[in-house]
């Protein structure tokens, strides 16, 4: 397993105003798999990802990255962990505007003071098709290109796991498809582990496995999904949600 969550609870506030975002969640993320987390707004899917990635703290329960328990780690250790073992792709604002594409890609390694593996870097850059644009600043790149740079950055440091938070949420369908197929390829060809939060059935259909979250609980999962299957399942949730 690349990552595990055990009986994770995340609650905000106390007493009357207590809101439970994650309610005793157990998740296993398999190594070399592409996992999508889906669910309606407010289902807790982003919170779950943030907790798994060590960006947020849990109220109770345990989270492991490989064999390392990350719940209870101090900020310094968590930062190191994110830097060395985790990759991130956010929905927007992934890149530092003062650095060019290449500098953005190598930033996590620069921060860590490590030299990037030149051959690997070349391979990653070629895979995402950015060889021509490495010297460009983010403002000189299209939205799709910017997200591809973000994917390259996530891949370049060879993290154990990559978390994506709606990585295609701001892209049109063609650019989104491009980015998603890169993610797919990195799982298939490079053996990368990826966890992606999305509400787009098409995006989810690129995954090996879809987890459905509702009211802070895992309510269902689907293996080797297609977009239609995912859409049907979502509609199902919606109608159930309406009747209940």
């Amino acid at each position: 397993m690349a990552a595990r969550a055990r009986q994770v609870v995340k609650a905000y506030g106390a007493g009357e105003t207590r809101v439970v975002a994650l309610d005793h969640v157990d998740v296993d993320i398999a190594r070399g798999q592409f996992t999508a987390i889906m669910g309606p707004s407010g289902s807790g899917k982003s919170t779950l990802m943030h907790c798994l990635a060590g960006l947020d703290t849990v109220s109770s329960g345990q989270i492991f990255l490989d064999e390392t328990e990350i719940t209870g780690l101090k900020d310094k250790k968590l930062t190191q962990l994110r830097r060395d073992r985790i990759g991130f792709i956010f929905q927007a604002f992934n890149l530092l505007p003062t650095l060019n594409a290449l500098e953005n890609i190598t930033l996590p390694m620069d921060i860590a003071g490590r030299r990037p593996d030149a051959a690997w870097l070349r391979q990653v850059v070629e895979t995402v098709g950015l060889a021509e644009r490495l010297k460009h600043r983010p403002t000189e790149l299209s939205g799709g290109q910017q997200q591809r740079v973000a994917v390259a950055r996530a891949l370049a440091a060879r993290p154990e796991i990559i978390f994506g938070d709606e990585p295609t949420g701001n892209l049109d369908s063609r650019a989104g498809a491009e980015v998603l197929s890169f993610l797919r390829r990195s799982v298939d060809e490079l053996g990368q582990t990826i966890v992606m939060v999305t509400h787009d059935p098409v995006a989810a259909s690129y995954a090996d496995r879809v987890l459905y979250l509702a009211d802070g609980r895992i309510v269902d999962e689907m293996l080797s999904p297609t977009a239609d299957q995912v859409l049907d399942r979502m509609k199902d949730f919606d109608s159930r949600g309406r009747t209940s």
Binding site: D75, K76, T79, F93, N94, L96, G113
Partner: protein, 861 residues
């Protein structure tokens, strides 16, 4: 009215971001108002004092022809005692009293410690009269009744722990007065710092004025119901011939005293206002930056306003109204702080011995008005350009994703203007260094300083790009990727970095310039001392102040053994008529012939030694050229209080010096031949040369000979140089202290820029933290950025200042400032200190950035 509403809401929504700008306005306004309140209070204090001490009508001897080059001879002008009786008989006069008053005295206690004012105020000795009762009352003991009794003012008594019966020795030009304190008198108004002592009439006349039948002035009290003007006329009639007198009503006396005090207060006032102005100038940078950044951060919001129908004008106005709020708040607080500052200054003066009472605290109605208008106008003017830029935001901005504001690039026009200004300024400075006359060079220097300053400010963003890159290769690269990020951040908006650095530049340029001029002054003077002064010892009034050396002290000095020679140096007033017939007042230097070895002078013709011959003299080069005087010519010298002599010019001295520039020398014996002993002034300075190998003994002996006269100091050459250095150093320290205000405002500017850019980069910082930048690295990044901005400002400022200082020295070389000395330790210290200032400025912004919540930062909307 919606514009008002949005402006007000914006202002309060961003009050944190406005805080530092408000502080900048506050500080500048406080300094201006503080200065005004303080000087007004001083004026009030002196007005009250002068009004309280002036008689209804005062008769004083007619002032001799005013000539500042002539020192007094230590013996004041007088009116005869008979005039007092004449004045008393005039109609409408209730009483007329003779008043004795002298400031050429020194009071010491039993241990020969000076009891005079510690704040540079005068020591005034006189007779106790009815007029003195206007401003003082005897609070213990009684008025002096004989030559062995003296009365002192209560402030002096308190300061020096004097009580009734204590012995005081008063050193006067006519000998010492040994007396015991018989009474203590207290001022009814605030006495800012004069030490006042009273004797009985006879003692005061003989010792202070040298004769028993004269007075310094006549104080006339009018009968009730008679106007001062009328009494003045009547007294004039009673005196008959009034050509020797000047009559003043109480109003005129007060005005007269105020005039002489006022010019000093004015100098102080305008100097302090000047420094306040510099701080205000620096504050402008801060305000411009704040509003530029607020406008940039609000681009989307403004775009939305425009999209839903706000006109450019409305957007523009809403920003200006925000500035108005800022100006009003900052100025109001500033006016309040200014009054506090004035009270603080008064306390400070009190600690230094100058008493000012808060009862006299004067806040003229103009003070808050000036403060408010100044603060508001400056703020609104500074916000004008950012406001215009806000007006230009297109409605499309609302639709664009303005994650970060676009890079502000320094325009070409701007670069060209800046370059032209800088070059013009540089040319003016160069021209100033080549000027033949200092009066011609001074305006050039001023223009050069101003133009280069403005040029540097305009060109700042361009220089920022260049300097930051250089600095980065020198110091940032060693910090690895964090250093590179800091470099990029500093370069991201060169206009902002330029303005922030320029604010620091202004203050530091002045510091550098003045320190160059100051140390050049010390170096030049030291060089001249080494070159021309041959005397081992110099005796002068202590503290470098004016005054003359009383004869009894001179006599005491002359008994010292191990001395090869003593030189007495007097300045004798005279009307001098050149062969071409032109006549003028001159102060002739009457000295022993040994003086030519004590202070060596070059001659352009003749021998200086011959000028000390009988009926001979020397003149300066400038005078000789002007009046076509040659060696061998005869000059008519009408000595003041003495006879007229025809003296032969035996030498013409070069005027390329600072000591005794333009002096006319005569032998002391020549002067004594024409001037009676009691009219001959006391020594101004004395020089001494030790017998061979006896320097140490002579020095110690001179010191102990002066022990009874603490008002004088003996200095050897090393002491003299040190004193010179101390004096210039003290002056510079005061100026640095005042410039500190401008530098503090500039540092606030650095803090402000960093704080705002941290806010602006919230998401960026969140992203970096998410992908693994540690808190420490983040804080270091912000600190490095701050250091780079500060060091950039320091480099520009120090460079500019050294340029100014060098140009000033080259120009002043015409006035004897021949040696250029760059004070590298000072410059280096300032440079290193500026890096620390950068670190300091980043403390809070870095801390806040470190505490930023990663999740909030990366959350999309």
């Amino acid at each position: 009215m919606t514009v008002w509403k949005t402006s007000r809401r914006n202002f309060f929504a961003h009050k944190g971001r406005m805080a530092l700008s408000a502080v900048a306005v506050l500080l500048s306004v406080a300094f201006v108002c503080g200065t005004l309140v303080f000087t007004d209070t001083m004026n009030t204090t002196f007005d009250k004092l002068f009004a309280a001490t002036a008689a209804d009508v005062t008769v004083v001897p007619k002032a001799p022809e005013k000539d500042n080059r002539l020192p007094g001879n230590g013996k004041p002008e007088t009116v005869p005692a008979s005039a007092v009786e004449q004045a008393a008989k005039a109609t409408g006069v209730k009483t007329a009293e003779g008043v004795v008053s002298s400031t050429s005295v020194t009071v010491v206690d039993r241990h020969d410690k000076n009891m005079g004012s510690t704040s540079g105020g005068p020591t005034i000795a006189g007779n106790w009269t009815g007029n003195a009762l206007r401003s003082m009352e005897i609070t213990s003991g009684h008025a002096p009744r004989g030559p062995t009794e003296v009365m002192v003012d209560a402030d002096t008594a308190e300061k020096h722990h004097l009580k009734l019966g204590d012995e005081l020795r008063t050193i006067t030009a006519n000998g010492d007065i040994e007396a015991r304190i018989s009474g203590i008198a207290t001022f009814k108004v605030t006495n800012p710092g004069a030490a006042v002592i009273y004797f009985d009439v006879a003692t005061a006349q003989t010792k202070l004025l040298g004769r028993p039948d004269v007075f310094s002035a006549i104080s006339v009290t009018a009968e009730a119901g008679v106007a001062d003007e009328q009494v003045k006329k009547n007294v004039a009639t009673a005196l008959g011939d009034t050509s020797a007198y000047e009559l003043r009503t109480q109003k005129e006396s007060t005005e007269n005293s105020k005039d002489s005090m006022g010019s000093f207060l004015d100098v102080m006032k305008y100097a302090m206002l000047g420094f306040a102005g510099i701080a205000l100038l620096v504050g402008i940078f801060l305000i411009v930056n704040t509003f530029s950044m607020l406008v940039a951060q609000r681009t989307r919001e403004i775009g939305l306003m425009r999209a839903i129908g706000s006109s450019r004008k409305q957007v523009n106005r809403s920003v200006l109204i925000e500035a108005l709020f800022l100006g009003v708040v900052g100025s109001l607080l500033g006016v309040g702080a200014g009054v506090g500052l004035a009270v603080g200054l008064m306390k400070l003066m009190g600690a230094m011995g100058m008493e000012l009472s808060t009862e006299d605290l004067t806040v003229a109605w103009t003070t808050p008005v000036i403060g408010l208008v100044l603060g508001i106008v400056v703020t609104v003017v500074a916000a004008y350009f950012p406001a215009r830029r806000a007006g230009k935001v297109s409605p499309m901005a609302a639709l664009r994703d303005a994650g970060t504001p676009a890079d502000g690039r320094a325009g070409r026009v701007r670069a060209a203007i800046g370059l032209v200004l800088t070059l013009a300024g540089g040319a003016a400075l160069l021209a100033a260094t080549r000027a033949d006359k200092s009066s011609e060079g001074a305006p050039l220097l001023g223009a050069g300083v101003l133009l280069t300053l403005i040029g540097f400010i305009v060109i700042g963003p361009l220089l920022a790009g260049f300097v930051v890159r250089v600095l980065s290769t020198v110091m940032l690269r060693m910090f690895g990727p964090v250093g590179r990020l800091a470099e990029r951040n500093a370069l991201r908006n060169p206009r902002r970095t330029g303005a922030t650095g320029a604010a620091l530049m202004v203050g530091l340029a002045l510091v550098a310039c003045l320190s160059v001029v100051g140390s050049s002054m010390v170096a030049s003077a030291t060089e001249e001392l080494d070159k021309s002064v041959g005397a081992d010892f110099i005796v002068q009034p202590a503290g470098g102040g004016g005054g003359l050396i009383v004869d009894q002290a001179a006599k005491a000095l002359k008994t010292v053994p191990d001395i090869e020679h003593f030189t007495e140096y007097k300045v004798v007033g005279a009307r001098v008529t050149a062969p071409d017939g032109s006549t003028g007042s001159e102060g002739l230097v009457a000295a022993n012939p040994s003086y030519k070895d004590d202070v060596r002078r070059e001659t352009v013709s003749g021998e200086l030694a011959a000028a000390y011959g009988k009926d001979a003299m020397s003149v300066g080069e400038t005078y000789a050229t002007k009046h076509r005087v040659k060696v061998g010519d005869r000059i008519t010298v009408a000595f003041k209080g003495g006879e007229t002599a025809k003296l032969k010019v035996a030498a013409i001295t070069s005027d390329d010096v600072n000591i005794d520039k333009g002096a006319m020398y005569v032998n002391l014996t020549t002067a004594a031949q024409y001037v009676p002993a009691d009219a001959l002034p006391q020594n101004m300075i004395m020089f001494a040369k030790a017998a061979d190998g006896k320097e140490k003994e002579a020095y110690a002996a001179l010191k102990s000979a002066l022990a009874k006269y603490p008002q004088y100091e003996v200095k050897n050459q090393a002491d003299f140089k040190e004193q010179l250095q101390d004096q210039i150093g003290q002056l510079l320290n005061i100026v640095y202290g005042l410039l500190a205000l401008a530098i503090i405002v500039a540092v606030l500017g650095v803090v402000n820029t960093l704080a705002l850019s941290v806010v602006e980069r919230t998401r960026e910082i969140g992203l970096m933290r998410a992908i693994g930048l540690s808190r420490r690295q983040l804080r270091r990044m912000i600190r490095l950025e701050s250091v780079v901005i500060a060091v950039f400002g320091a480099l520009l400022g120090l460079g500019l200042g050294m340029g100014w200082g060098t140009a000033a020295q080259k120009l002043l070389a015409l006035e004897g400032l021949g040696v250029l000395e760059i004070p590298w330790p000072t410059i280096l210290t300032v440079f290193v200190a500026s890096a620390f200032v950068g670190l300091f400025a980043a403390l809070v912004p870095a801390f806040r950035a470190g505490r930023m919540n990663v999740l909030n930062a990366i959350a999309t909307d």
